[in-house]
């Protein structure tokens, strides 16, 4: 199907740099390979260069250096209107003077597609996003969720080889966003189009993407499936950026096969999974709050434990977050799943409790 050399990615971003010449480099030597059919998310806070990278794929910005290849074709010099790429814009950019039908047909008409073929394609697209009834409406007569679906239909109508999504659900409220995430992924899979999406919302990236690239200050820090990014972050920044984390600095004091001990002063970590280091090496230990258990009595047998005072407690319904104070004033976040209703032995604010975690819970980071 694809003439690209086997083993090479469908979309190749090779050492791309974008320098706007205002002191900071928006995209700094980024290289990525994206496979056909993937939903790939560029995740980062605002100003990290993710949108600039997306705009370079669409053709609205020209890379200062580097190459972008789609299915073996170098996109350099191709203006946006000649690229086999369509974009779903942030807040949709629907044409306000055209009906839903004409919005979806806009791209097909530019191709010079025959009238009845256009009509068929538009009908099929509207059916896909379940908006047949709204074909005659203008965008301002639709709800946010419906506008989002028009934008999706419009960008899929031309059967793009690559679809770009710029904060696809950013304009929707939380409840609708969660529903739409799944729906959007289903439609994308049904059509089978390769997607690159940009988002600052990690939940959105996690639920929708097959792989995530975490970006910061124009550089890619880590690329991987959502679970890898969450469970084995490569750097302190990624660990801290994705989800909640307790980061503790310490030094390696014991280094044996299958066992490393790290002394953080107020607490000593035993790490049982396959890592090695040199004694005396400075490292950071990351523990996710939900991997820590909390009990009133000192537990027996647990290797990692620390005594703490409960400073405050926030109830979120499905889970409760405890903010603990360790000796020396350090803070530790613990998230307990509320499996039981009104659990009787839950530590109260001001009480002393023991936090424990298994020796497989930590991630040891060197940078």
């Amino acid at each position: 199907m694809s003439p690209a050399v086997a083993g090479q990615a469908y979309l190749q971003i090779r050492d791309v740099v974008k320098d706007f010449g205002n002191g900071s480099v928006a995209v700094n030597h980024v290289s990525l390979g994206i496979q056909q059919g993937e939903i790939f998310a560029l995740l980062g806070s605002s100003g990290c260069g993710k949108t600039t990278l997306l705009r370079m794929l669409a053709g609205f910005e020209t890379p200062t250096s580097g190459q972008i290849l789609l299915d073996g074709l170098d996109l350099a010099g191709l203006p946006p209107y000649l690229r086999p790429i369509n974009m779903m814009f942030q807040s949709y950019a629907l044409f306000p003077h055209l009906t839903v039908w004409d919005n979806v047909a806009f791209g097909l008409r530019r191709e010079g597609m025959a009238k009845d073929a256009t009509a068929q394609r538009v009908e099929a697209m509207l059916k896909l996003v379940q908006l047949q009834k709204y074909a005659k409406r203008k965008p301002h007569q639709l709800s946010g969720g419906q506008q989002q679906r028009v934008a999706l239909a419009r960008s899929l109508a031309k059967r793009p080889q690559l679809m770009l999504l710029d904060e696809p659900l950013g304009a929707l409220d939380k409840k609708l966003r969660e529903e739409t995430q799944v729906e959007l992924v289903n439609i994308i899979h049904e059509v089978g189009v390769t997607c690159v999406m940009v988002t600052h919302d990690q939940e959105e990236a996690m639920t929708m993407a097959t792989r995530i690239a975490v970006m910061s200050e124009g550089e890619i820090l880590q690329v991987g499936p959502p679970a890898d990014i969450y469970e084995t972050p490569a750097t302190r920044f990624v660990a801290d950026f994705i989800g909640n984390v307790n980061l503790m600095d310490g030094t390696v004091v014991v280094d044996e096969p299958d066992l490393v001990e790290i002394d953080c002063g107020y607490c000593r970590h035993r790490v049982g999974h396959g890592i090695t280091g040199n004694v005396g090496m400075a490292v950071s230990v990351a523990v996710r709050p939900e991997k820590i258990r909390l009990s009133r009595e000192k537990p027996e047998g647990e290797v990692n434990q620390v005594k703490a005072t409960v400073r405050d407690r926030s109830y979120f319904g499905s889970f409760t977050v405890y903010n603990l104070e360790l000796e020396g004033g350090r803070r530790l976040k613990v998230s307990e799943s509320n499996v039981e209703r009104h659990r009787a032995d839950a530590p109260e604010e001001g009480e002393v409790a023991w936090a424990t975690w298994p020796d497989t819970a930590q991630v040891v980071l060197t940078q």
Binding site: N86, M87, F89, A93, F95, P96, F106, R110, R154, K158
Partner: protein, 319 residues
């Protein structure tokens, strides 16, 4: 901290039951009163004069009660005369034609101007805006008069047009009386009117074009529209409100224009404003002059009503 209640005069005024109930109406009444006194009332006076009989220089009353007989005399003769007389019909037609031609050229010159102004760097936009407004700082009469000097024999614009052989082209279209003679022709009149009314076209166009969401053009390009197609399919339709507003602001005053035809026009540029003046002050035929005026107002009110309708629709779309 709670805000102290009704301290200032205006606070107390707003709190007063009369203003709570009628405040909105009170605000609207002022402009309506203005329109009533300075537009509706004079209009009805003119309307009355236009159907009045005259005996010598004395107006005869429209309605009178004499010997127990109430009589109503409405004289439509002037209107009938207006419609039958070739000169009047031609003058109306010619006024509409010059107004339309002026509107076309203002749009043709003003649209690109407003477009590049709206797309210029934000830092230079105020300066460009200033350049559009600057002519208003000099008397309108003076500026129109200046064109006389520029276009008459030996004027440098006239010399330039001759050097570029534009006069041959204008002569071919029968817009000037003879090669090298530009004054008192349809050409000089059009130049003066386009020059005068151009800012009224540019300002509303600039207002709509500068508000346009440029991402829509990106979306169009993304969907395969070249910049040229994007301009015609997106930019022009979305600036429709500005095109209509600008065209009305140029077209409507152009119909009744008196000063520019007086200064730059000639025997072949009959305009209704000129005829009005002559009827009132040269012929002293007030009923005739009033009939001409009423028809002009009708000619203006119809486009105005259309304009308001479109304006309302445009606001509805944006809401």
């Amino acid at each position: 901290m709670s805000r102290p209640l009704a301290t200032s005069f205006f606070d107390r005024m707003h709190a007063h039951p009369f203003f709570r109930k009628h405040g909105r109406k009170a605000v609207i009444v002022v402009p309506y009163l203005w329109l009533l006194i300075f537009f509706a009332l004079p209009f009805f006076i003119i309307l009355k004069i236009s159907v009045q009989d005259m005996e010598g220089v004395v107006f005869q009353p429209v309605a009178k009660l004499q010997d127990g007989v109430a009589s109503l005399v409405i004289n439509f003769n002037h209107y009938l005369f207006l419609l039958q007389d070739r000169l009047y019909v031609q003058t109306y037609w010619s006024s509409l034609k010059f107004a339309a031609v002026t509107t076309f050229w203002c749009l043709f010159i003003g649209y690109p101007f407003a477009y590049f102004m709206a797309r210029a760097k934000a830092s230079v936009q105020p300066a460009l805006m200033m350049m559009v407004m600057l002519p208003f700082w000099t008397s309108f009469l003076l500026r129109v008069y200046a064109w006389k000097g520029l276009l008459m024999d030996g004027g440098w614009v006239a010399n330039l047009l001759v050097a570029l052989h534009v006069d041959d082209l204008l002569l071919a279209f029968d817009l000037i009386p003879a090669a090298g003679k530009f004054m008192n022709s349809p050409f000089s009149l059009t130049v003066g009117m386009v020059y005068t009314y151009l800012p009224f076209m540019i300002l509303p166009l600039y207002a709509t074009l500068s508000k346009m969401d440029l991402r829509l053009l990106e979306a169009a390009a993304d969907l395969g529209a070249t910049p040229w197609v994007g301009f015609w399919k997106i930019t022009v339709p979305l600036s429709k409100a500005g095109i209509i507003a600008g065209s009305m602001l140029v077209f409507i005053p152009c119909i009744g224009e008196y000063v520019i035809p007086e200064l730059l026009g000639g025997p072949r540029t009959l305009m209704i404003g000129r005829v009005l003046w002559d009827e009132f002050f040269s012929n002293n035929d007030w009923p005739m002059a009033s009939s001409v005026a009423v028809v002009v107002i009708l000619l203006i009110i119809v486009p105005l009503a259309l304009f308001n309708k479109y304006q309302a629709e445009a606001t509805e779309v944006r809401a």
